[in-house]
């Protein structure tokens, strides 16, 4: 049940944070395994999704620490490819032009995210895609509230800049 509810969201967070879909599958699996093993440790002082995100981000950090330089090299080679899902985007206007435009916008955001530092990328996804509260982001990432807010503002500025929206 837990896997069914949260797997897709967790996979997205990890995949777009690391840029490596294969590694993200492993991290998400490890995350659920760890969550199952430590289920007694969940005290209920945060939501289940925040608890799972905390575990996933800890595992991700461990992987990054272990693999160091290889990590991002590998991520570049096996980046998440959104082109084949862009055509299937749900849209109230099913015209090919609208779908193509939506796909192009999605790709531009992805490119903008790719240029961001890892922490900003993670915070951006948690805030603007998963619509998590700043406090929950701070709890999951282990950052202070002010640091989280700074990352939110900086990441949004960078994305806007990439999208050509900054005056």
């Amino acid at each position: 049940m837990l896997v069914k509810t949260y797997r897709a969201k967790l996979l997205r967070l990890v995949a777009f944070s690391t840029g490596d879909p294969d590694l993200s599958e492993t991290i998400v699996q490890d995350c659920f395994l760890k969550a199952y093993k430590n289920r007694e440790g969940f005290r209920g002082d945060c939501s289940v999704s925040t608890w799972l995100y905390t575990i996933a981000l800890n595992i991700m950090r461990d992987y990054q620490r272990l693999q160091k330089f290889q990590f991002w090299k590998r991520a570049d080679r096996t980046a998440v490819d959104l082109t084949d899902v862009n055509s299937a985007l749900a849209s109230p206007d099913p015209s090919p032009e609208t779908r193509m435009l939506a796909g192009e916008q999605a790709n531009r955001v992805q490119l903008a995210l790719k240029a961001l530092p890892s922490k900003q990328r993670t915070v951006f996804i948690m805030r603007f895609l998963d619509e998590m509260d700043v406090k929950d982001i701070a709890r999951a990432t282990g950052m202070s509230l002010s640091t989280v807010k700074t990352h939110i503002h900086r990441s949004m500025k960078a994305v806007r800049f990439r999208l050509g929206a900054i005056r």
Binding site: R7, A8, K9, L11, R12, A15, F16, P21, E25, V80, L82, V85, N86, A88, L89, A90, A102, G103, Q105, A106, R108, V109, Q110, R127, F128, L129, E131, I152, H153, M156, K157, V159, R160, L163, A165, R167
Partner: protein, 181 residues
């Protein structure tokens, strides 16, 4: 006089869903900021949908792969188990067959031995106690020869009445008193 546009923080807050009265009033007046926020929010919305679609598809494919692997493993394990179960009775059956054949051989040998033993007893009985049973022609001939030899011997040892009485055989007159009848 141009309005000062929204700051990065205000735009980020607004796009995060935090709407402040100052931001709302500015957006009501400034078309440029409205257009920019629309453009960014539409792009993020498109990315949100595309990334979620990718993730859901990857999750679906992953679970399908896991299910397939699981079923393959289960099939393999079931096959191995069936093979093991099938192999055990086969060897047991083989052992039962071997034991059965061995028993049949032992019984057959015992029967043969018993039969031979019985025949041997019968032939001993025949040889020792019932020579008459063997009624061959040669034996009859030999018996006749034996009897003939006895006759000849008797003939040679006992005097004939003619010789006993010097060649004269007294005439025997049968008297009425001597009549036997």
């Amino acid at each position: 006089m141009t309005l000062p546009h929204l700051s990065d923080e205000q735009v980020a807050d607004y796009l995060s869903g935090i709407s402040r009265p100052a931001t709302a009033s500015h957006l009501a007046q400034c078309a440029e900021c409205r257009e920019e926020i629309d453009r960014v929010s539409v792009s993020i919305h498109s990315f949100n949908q595309a990334s979620m679609a990718w993730s859901e598809r990857a999750t679906r494919l992953g679970s399908e792969r896991a299910t397939r692997l699981g079923s393959e493993r289960a099939t393999s394990a079931r096959g191995q188990a069936q093979a093991a179960v099938a192999a055990k009775p086969r060897s047991a059956r083989a052992w039962y067959g071997i034991v059965g054949i061995a028993c049949a051989l032992i019984v057959a040998c015992a029967l043969l031995l018993a039969t031979f033993h019985r025949h041997a007893n019968v032939s001993e009985v025949v040889k020792g106690k019932a020579p008459y049973i063997s009624d061959g022609t040669a034996e009859i001939d030999s018996d006749n020869q034996l009897l003939g030899a006895i006759d000849r011997e008797q003939d040679s040892t006992s005097l004939s009445p003619e010789k006993m009485y010097g060649g004269q055989v007294p005439a025997i007159t049968l008297t009425p008193a001597a009549r036997i009848d």
